[in-house]
């Protein structure tokens, strides 16, 4: 199926054009660059889901480094999952597959969502 890459975008929109904005110290605490939410600023960024860990990622418009892509999912993946993909013992599993395995009752999940460890627990 063909699709526009943008069709997978969510959106975060923060408008301080008519507002004094968020002070720099608090902006950093909330995860913004202070310039993005200062007086008169408008911050608009797409958000994307990572199909491997299920995280929702705000796509930083100031980023210049390349973003990761999974060619098996044909989708964006987050930096943490990209790092895991380059490890020699990596097994490709999407969050949907992991959810189905755990829901079957035969698998136990531990580790992190970027490096999930699935252990078979049932007799099946």
């Amino acid at each position: 199926m063909t699709f526009l890459k943008k069709s997978r975008d969510g959106e975060i929109f923060v408008d301080h054009r008519a507002s004094p904005g968020i002070p720099a110290e608090l902006a950093r605490k909330f995860g913004y660059h202070p310039d993005q939410v200062k007086e008169g600023a408008i911050f608009e960024a797409p958000t994307l889901g990572c199909p491997h860990c299920g995280a929702n990622v705000v796509i930083n418009p100031l980023r210049t480094r390349a973003r990761a892509h999974c060619y098996r999912c044909n989708a964006y993946v987050c930096d943490w999952c990209d790092a895991a993909m380059h490890e020699p013992d990596y097994v490709h599993r999407t969050i949907k597959e992991i959810r189905e395995l755990v829901a079957s009752g035969n698998w136990e999940l531990s580790g992190t969502m970027h490096r999930p460890i699935l252990r078979k627990i049932g007799g099946n």
């Binding site: 923060v14 301080h16 004094p20 968020i22 909330f30 939410v37 929702n56």
Partner: protein, 172 residues
């Protein structure tokens, strides 16, 4: 099975601590499952500030770690209705509310998700729109997954302020 919009008008979002029951009436927007098996997808949250002086609010969408008791049915000027006028009523409609006999407790559990929607309520606007499959989901009607609330977190450094807000959601 149809999108609905829960809107609050001129609500003073009193800053309150995570992990403790909210103590101020009409200072949050909560959405609770209508039955033990209901799923609700939250698709969009918008907050538009109406404070008359600079007020940084740490608005968050969070799970309720302890549910309210005896919620008060939503009344004007707040509203909740279908986005499409020809929407059939659900057998167990979702329960939007802004006050209750005992208010819900916004979760302070590290493994419960929170959505950061901080802004300056003096003229600021924030809108979060979920990407496909990344919606915020409420399941059932028990804590913590069965109820979520949009509130102003003093734990995250928020200050009390006036705002309008809406939550676009789809119950199943």
């Amino acid at each position: 099975m149809a999108k609905r919009i829960f809107t609050s008008a001129a609500l003073t979002f009193t800053a309150a601590a995570a992990g403790s029951a909210i103590t101020t009436v009409s200072s949050y927007m909560a959405l609770k499952g209508g039955s033990g098996t209901q799923t609700i997808d939250v698709l969009e949250v918008l907050v538009s500030g109406k404070a008359t002086a600079s007020t940084v609010a740490a608005m968050e969408l969070a799970r309720a770690s302890t549910l309210e008791t005896t919620l008060t049915t939503l009344a004007a000027p707040h509203s909740d209705g279908p986005a499409h006028p020809a929407t059939a009523a659900l057998a167990a409609p979702a329960l939007p509310f802004v006050t209750a006999a005992t208010h819900p407790t916004p979760s302070n559990t590290v493994t419960d998700a929170k959505l950061n929607l901080a802004l300056n309520l003096f003229g600021g606007i924030i809108r979060w729109n979920a990407s496909p499959t990344q919606q915020w989901t409420i399941v059932g009607n028990t804590a913590p997954g069965g109820e979520s609330l949009l509130w102003n977190s003093s734990t995250a450094g928020g200050s009390t302020g006036l705002a309008d807000a809406h939550i676009l959601y789809e119950p199943y």
